[in-house]
C-alpha cells in the first residue's frame, strides 16, 4: 500500500514540475491522436453516411467488415501496417516506419471504423423527413445530406469522441509503428509500457493520471457542446 502512495506522490511531482519527458509524451499522444481523428472523420463520416443512406450491392459486406475491424486487437492492426510500410513492404520507399506519421496512419485505421459505425447509426436513426424537407426547401442532394448530418451532429460528435478514446489509450499500434523513440514517437501509452517494464511505477502512474485527466476533459468538452 505504501509503495502505491509513494508512487502517487512522485507522479504528482512529475506532473506539476512539468517534467520534459512527460510533456513530450503528452504532446506526441495528443497530436498523433488528433491528426488520426481528422483523417478518420474525413473518411468515416462520409462512409457512415453512405452506408446509412443508400442500399447498394455489397452494403452488408461493408458493414460486417467495419464491425470486424472495430474488434481487431491493436497489435494485429500494427502488425499489418508494419508489413505494408517496412522496407520489405509495398510502401517501404516512403520510409515512414518509426515516424509519427505512421502512428497517425495506424491510428486512423483504428479510428475510422468507429467513426463510420457511429455515423451510420446516427444517420439511420435520423428522422426520415429531414431529407425531403431539405429538398423541398431547395437543397441539392448533397446539401440535403449535409443538413441531415447537422441534424444528427451529436451522434456524429459522439462518434469522434469514441474514436478518440480508442486511439489515445492504445499501445499496440504506437509501439509497432513508432518504435517508442524518445522525444519522437514515444506516446503516453508506449512510455507507460516502457516504464513499467523498467519498474518505474511512479512515471507510469503520472502518465496514467494524465490520460484519465484527458479523458475527463474531452467528456466535459462534449458536454459543453451539447448544451449549446
Amino acid at each position: 500500500m505504501q509503495y502505491l502512495i509513494d508512487s502517487l506522490g512522485t507522479a504528482l511531482v512529475l506532473i506539476f514540475s512539468l517534467d520534459s519527458d512527460v510533456l513530450s509524451t503528452v504532446q506526441i499522444s495528443v497530436v498523433t491522436s488528433c491528426c488520426s481523428l481528422v483523417i478518420a472523420a474525413l473518411l468515416g463520416i462520409p462512409l457512415g453516411t453512405l452506408l446509412g443512406s443508400y442500399r447498394f450491392f455489397g452494403r452488408r459486406v461493408c458493414i460486417t467488415l467495419l464491425n470486424t475491424m472495430m474488434a481487431l486487437p491493436t497489435v494485429v492492426v500494427g502488425l499489418l501496417i508494419f508489413g505494408l510500410f517496412s522496407r520489405q513492404g509495398p510502401f517501404g520507399t516512403f520510409g515512414l516506419l518509426f515516424t509519427p506519421m505512421l502512428i497517425i496512419i495506424g491510428q486512423a485505421v483504428l479510428a475510422t471504423p468507429i467513426v463510420a459505425n457511429y455515423t451510420l447509426a446516427a444517420v439511420k436513426g435520423a428522422d426520415k423527413r429531414i431529407l425531403p424537407t431539405a429538398l423541398t426547401l431547395g437543397a441539392s442532394p448533397l446539401q440535403a445530406r449535409l443538413q441531415l448530418l447537422r441534424q444528427v451532429r451529436f451522434g456524429v460528435m459522439a462518434a469522434v469522441i469514441a474514436a478518440f478514446g480508442r486511439v489515445i489509450a492504445e499501445v499496440g499500434v504506437a509501439m509497432m509503428l513508432g518504435g517508442n523513440i524518445r522525444g519522437y514517437t514515444r506516446t503516453m501509452t508506449t512510455a507507460v509500457a516502457l516504464e513499467t517494464s523498467k519498474g518505474e511505477f511512479a512515471f507510469a502512474m503520472a502518465l496514467g493520471l494524465i490520460l484519465m485527466l484527458l479523458a475527463l476533459l474531452v467528456n466535459l468538452f462534449l458536454n459543453l457542446l451539447q448544451q449549446k
Binding site: 518509426f98 518504435g179 519522437y184 523498467k198
Partner: protein, 273 residues
C-alpha cells in the same frame, strides 16, 4: 457550399488549433539516423549520455529503436534501420558474413550474472563453472525464468544450457517472453533463478531480493558490437552517417563517456584500452 462547413465556428477554431500543434511535427530539419539496439542497452541510460555529442557534431538526431536482439538484427537485415548495436557476437558475425552489415566494431563489454534467491536451493554459488550451475538448476528443478524472446541474453542462456548438455523443460522452467526487467521481477516473485546482464541487475537491485550467485566465468563475457547496415543491400540507408556513428562509438571520446557511466557507484560497461 463550403460556407456551410466554415460557418461552424467550432470547426474553424479547432482546425487552427490543430495547425498550431502540428508545427513541431513538421519540423524535420535535422537528419535522422536510425539505430536499432537492445532494450537492456537502452534501459541502462548510457545512450542518453553517449548520443548527444554525436548528434551535435553531425547536426542529426539518432532515433533509438529498442527491441530484442533478434528483432534488432532483423530490422538491420530488412533495411528498416541504418545501424545496429547489439551484444550477440555469433549473430553479429553471421550478420556480416551474410552481407547485411559492414564494418563491425567493438564498442564495450560487460558481463552476465546468474542471480537467484539468497537461500540458493540449487547450490550454484559454490560452483565456478556456469554450465555446471545450469546443470545443477536443472537437477534441482528450481524455478528458472528465461527471457524466451531471442534477445542477446536469451541466446547466451541457450548456449549455456547446450554447454551443460541439457535441454530445459518442465514446470520449473518459465519462458517469459518479456523484457529483462519484467523477467527479474518475475524471478523475484517466484524466488527463482535467472540470467541477466549486470547493468539491468544493478538498476533493479533495490527492487528485488535476488542476489548475484555466480559471475566471472569467461562464458558470461558480454561484448557489444556496432554494425552499419550494408548500403549495397539497401541503398536508401544513411551509410555515411552510419559509418561516422560506428567510428564515433569506437573513439576515445565515446570510451571516456562509457567509462564514466555509473549506477550506484558501479560501472555498467567496460571498454578495452
Amino acid at each position: 457550399m463550403p460556407c456551410l462547413i466554415l460557418k461552424n465556428s467550432y470547426a474553424t477554431r479547432l482546425l487552427l488549433l490543430l495547425l498550431i500543434i502540428l508545427m513541431p511535427l513538421c519540423a524535420t530539419a535535422a537528419e535522422r539516423l536510425r539505430l536499432a539496439t537492445t532494450t537492456s542497452t537502452d534501459n541502462s541510460g548510457l545512450l542518453e549520455l553517449l548520443l548527444p555529442p554525436f548528434e551535435q557534431a553531425y547536426h542529426c538526431e539518432v532515433d533509438v529503436i529498442a527491441v530484442g536482439t533478434g528483432r534488432a538484427l532483423r530490422l538491420g537485415e530488412k533495411g528498416d534501420v541504418d545501424v545496429v548495436l547489439v551484444h550477440a557476437r555469433e549473430k553479429e558475425d553471421a550478420f556480416i558474413a551474410a552481407g547485411y552489415g559492414v564494418e563491425r566494431r567493438d564498442v564495450m563489454y560487460n558481463d552476465f550474472v546468474l542471480i537467484g534467491p539468497a537461500a540458493d536451493p540449487a547450490q550454484v554459488a559454490e560452483l565456478k563453472d556456469v554450465a555446471a550451475a545450469f546443470g545443477a538448476i536443472m537437477q534441482a528443478e528450481t524455478v528458472f525464468v528465461s527471457r524466451g524472446d531471442e534477445s542477446g541474453t536469451h541466446f547466451r542462456e541457450m548456449q549455456l544450457w547446450q554447454a551443460a548438455g541439457v535441454e530445459p523443460q518442465g514446470p520449473w522452467y518459465l519462458e517469459a517472453g518479456r523484457g529483462m526487467g519484467e523477467v527479474l521481477i518475475m524471478a523475484d516473485e517466484s524466488r527463482g533463478y535467472a540470467l541477466t546482464d549486470r547493468g539491468t541487475y544493478l538498476a533493479f537491485k533495490d527492487k528485488i531480493a535476488l542476489k548475484v550467485l555466480l559471475s566471472g566465468d569467461s562464458r558470461l563475457f558480454n561484448p557489444y558490437g556496432v554494425m552499419a547496415v550494408n548500403p549495397a543491400k539497401h541503398p536508401h540507408v544513411k551509410s555515411e552517417l552510419a559509418s561516422a556513428f560506428c567510428e564515433y562509438l569506437a573513439s576515445d571520446q565515446a570510451k571516456a563517456i562509457i567509462r564514466s557511466f555509473r549506477k550506484g557507484g558501479e560501472p555498467l560497461f567496460y571498454v578495452e584500452d
